[in-house]
Homo-oligomer: 548 residues x 2
């Protein structure tokens, strides 16, 4: 089964096929109502509110728009419009028919969407209540686990379950296992039992086992949900009223080899399997006050450039699997970036500025989690300053030209000091200097730019070839990288990028996802007689019984 | 290539084929001198001090014996007797010819051995100095990374390197990537460059990049090593002199379906793919003082039973891959276990007691890391108390018979309070009760045994079926478990067992190993044209270029 040639990650509520977004005062209701016949591929039907990537793109869009477009929304009820069904999880026929890389990228995106829900709760005062008005299985329950609280209808039938292991021979890989034991602190032996149980757990036992927060009889369910959603809304520090800003379409220009936005472009060279990602500094003055930013809306460079970067990364992941080595450049006026950074820092407590900063943060996390090599090339005319220098810090290596004639410099800003943390909770400077914990603060004290040698001495860049060596050294590094086994690079980068502490978030992408990807590769799951392949068909799976 | 039918993990210095252990005052020298023709299989030759499981079994034995048999040894120099070669890493022909499960178990054991080196340094005052007197590649450098310090000879040729990614398309999976960035705090971009470099790094650059601690010219190398080893020895808190205790052979009785030791037995049912592991409490009074324990030596129950358990787990992993579900029972006198626990706690600062406790701890970690399901069955006559109850806590589930006639009880001791931590640094009670951090201390206050209902209420056991339900419930649970995909259980258990914080140790077995296992399954490494398969042969690897 071939995925669609090119997936777009852009949508908007008026285009939603699978979700209904309703806003009533401070409470929004995001209700799943998946159209069976509107999957990304026609080779499966999205029965029982099961989902594919297209469904999740809408969910991610809805969560994002609530943050930017509806600051007056303080809590969100996540529920279903189907009778007796909340969500049956990821569509099994879709998974079965997907190539390995598609499975992995599908899971990565859905994980990022669920983490975005938690990010909104933790950092934007937008609380989520999962209102499970029917059966809630697998990925459906994993979506609920990403919400702050889970209410389950007590109708004698509706249960929460993670039937992936017994039915499909794969893990609940959208954070389910991790959130059970690390977020909801379900006891590991209970989690073990629960995760091997096809029929799931319902009623009071689900509460006692910490699987849900409350159960309510059908007759009282909506009232209880409404009441709790209203209470959650009252905890919020979001504005009492709007308006927010509208996120309009990005309208990139797409050709065979390039996708070009206003401040971002991604050009691919299919023969060399390389890409070039360029991010431009603002070309005109940017607002410096919240009012100015509200007025600029999604034209505000910080939001616009990072939305474009985010979209480019998503398209790269899904639509360009063979482009393995990405050169990252920036261009334009460093001072304009620094000026934006100053405004963001000064007004970081304003709701919109907060949203912009967290969006930049999530985009950079997306970069950390993109399994492609990134080499930052820092040349005269570049704009690797502050929030844009964060891209160089996120890259696997950086090469900075030690130019004998022209100025070539990088610069830090307060944005490098912790406002754009990695998923392990540390700033990229902190992770970079685990050996010298005091160094980030020292470097942030540095006034003005760093030339190539200063930057090298400060440990801020990897290599500083001079004019004579530059072309060869950079070219050879890229060619060598592009010749590696793509798989070993994925493993290498997933290990080296995440030094330091682990969090629920990093455990999901490290421990849980890495095991799931292993399982996704094993004949016991995906072979002819593997569990994922024979589910719902005649016959039972046949396993190689050897434990690994 | 078939591995030997059954591997024994027992050896002793007089039997070593690959290592020389020399003791000179407070400094031991453990020198690698691998016999090319003495691999576990005759289908490869262990050239250039490359190693297979047999070589590592000797290393693990040597480290263990230094702890128990030579308390007067305070530091260990790890070096090579070969000219210009320290160690070329894991043998590639061995890896290439091994089945997936063998690769994984080989890596697991070698990882445990390296962690045992760090455990000895951290907890037993036994410091390790890697004296790299020649080229040091791949697993050789990973062994060095496990030592406290690394000295490299500066002879213009000797370098440290991790060439796995470029040459073999697999990760340096014996902790290398993790220790680079998380132990030695090598900057991630430098680690990235280094880990893609076949020729490695030597001389002053290796020091500047934190890859080694010092380089010394050939003429001064041995003197510098001796001097530093002596200094490290002086930091130790181990006894000034011996004697230690001798670890004699375990002499289990081995039949087709059982391996029986003095206090441990493991019986397998190949048809059902289940096993039964029984650990017995002491059957006679045990020493309560360090002098008594010294005199008892390896007959002291705590050491003997856990050595046997350790050996049984290792044999289970390597020799019985299809035995996926293990029922764990204990039997005997609970009070005798508790009495041993009291003695251990009272004298925990004595060097031998310390060694015994840390050995118990490592054995229990080995259990946590054994990818088999463990169900603890707690029945009348069992001895799940204190350190033996820790096995029930390590199990995936526990079933405790609520017996209407006979006493059936479990009991805690101070040994459950943190002396036997998991690899994440927490006690199993702490991990169990992440939701209620105060609970472990409360439970440890409880005097006397817990009956079935008390134990259930306390959250110490999973299920407490009564006499009527017991047989069916337990039987069905085991049958259901044994019918699962072995792979999904491995992934499930690896996620659910390790709730809470992550450490270098858990990152090695979670993040690093999980990715490596994925790579070990990928055609780009192990396919006909995969990098691991074509290395050293005519032709180059052919890759599927899709990034995942």
């Amino acid at each position: 089964m071939a995925p669609p040639a090119a997936v777009s990650f852009e949508t908007s509520p008026s285009q939603y096929k699978h979700w209904s977004l309703r806003i009533d005062g401070h409470v929004a209701t995001l209700a799943m109502d998946v159209r069976e016949d509107a999957g990304l591929s026609s080779e499966y039907r999205l029965k029982l509110n099961s989902y594919d990537l297209g469904v999740d793109i809408e969910l991610a869009d809805a969560v994002l728009r609530l943050r930017f477009e509806h600051p007056e929304v303080h809590s969100v009820v996540v529920t279903s419009l189907k009778e007796r069904v909340f969500c049956a999880g990821a569509n099994i026929m879709m998974l079965r028919g997907s190539a390995h890389g598609w499975k992995v990228n599908f899971c990565k995106f859905t994980n990022e969407t669920r983490l975005a829900i938690e990010d909104a709760s933790r950092h934007s005062g937008l609380k989520f209540l999962a209102a499970l008005n029917g059966i809630c299985a697998g990925g459906g329950y994993e979506l609920a686990l990403a919400c702050d609280e889970i209410f389950l209808v007590d109708d004698g039938n509706s249960a929460v379950s993670l039937p992936e292991a017994p039915l499909l021979g794969v893990l609940p890989g959208t954070g389910g296992l991790t959130r059970l034991v690390d977020k909801r602190f379900v006891r590991r032996d209970i989690a073990d039992f629960f995760s091997t149980l096809v029929e799931g757990i319902k009623g009071k036992r689900a509460v006692a086992w910490r699987l849900v927060d409350a159960v309510h009889p059908t007759s009282q369910f909506s009232a209880a949900v409404r009441k709790r959603a209203t209470e959650l809304a009252m905890e919020s520090d979001r504005p009492a009223s709007g308006p927010g800003i509208i996120l309009s379409r990005l309208h990139p220009t797409i050709t065979e080899s390039a996708i070009t936005y206003s401040a971002v472009s991604l050009t691919v060279n299919r023969e060399r399997r390389t890409g070039e990602l360029i991010v431009s500094a603002p070309t005109d003055p940017q607002p410096t006050t919240p009012d100015g930013m509200l007025e600029a809306g999604d034209r505000f460079w910080a939001l616009r450039a990072f939305r474009e970067l985010d979209d480019a990364l998503l398209r790269l992941r899904i639509n360009e699997p063979e482009i393995g080595t990405i050169v990252v450049r920036t261009e334009g006026d460093r001072d304009r970036v620094l000026s934006v950074d100053r405004a963001l820092i000064e007004h970081q407590n304003h709701w919109l500025v907060r949203e912009v900063i967290h969006f930049m943060k999530r985009t950079l996390k997306r970069l950390d989690l993109t399994s492609r090599t990134f080499f930052a090339l820092i040349e005269p005319g570049s704009a690797f300053a502050g929030s844009l220098f964060e891209i160089a810090l996120a890259a696997d290596r950086s090469y900075m030209l030690d130019d004998s004639d022209r100025e070539n410099a990088i610069q830090l800003s307060g944005m490098n000091g912790g406002l754009l943390p990695m998923s392990n909770g540390l700033s990229r400077l902190q992770v970079r200097f685990l050996a010298e914990p005091a160094r980030p603060a020292e470097l942030l004290q540095h006034q003005g730019p760093f030339g190539a040698h200063q930057a090298e001495e400060a440990g801020l860049v990897t290599f500083v070839p001079d004019d004579i060596d530059w072309d060869d050294e950079v070219r050879l590094a890229i060619e060598a990288r592009a010749a590696f086994s793509p798989d070993v690079l994925t493993g290498l980068e997933a290990n080296l990028r995440f030094a330091g502490p682990e969090t629920i978030e990093t455990k999901i992408f490290g421990r849980l996802t890495a095991w799931q990807n292993w399982i996704f590769q094993r004949p016991n799951a995906v072979g002819d007689k593997g569990a994922l392949n024979v589910y719902g068909q005649q016959g039972r799976p046949e396993f190689d019984w050897k434990r690994t």
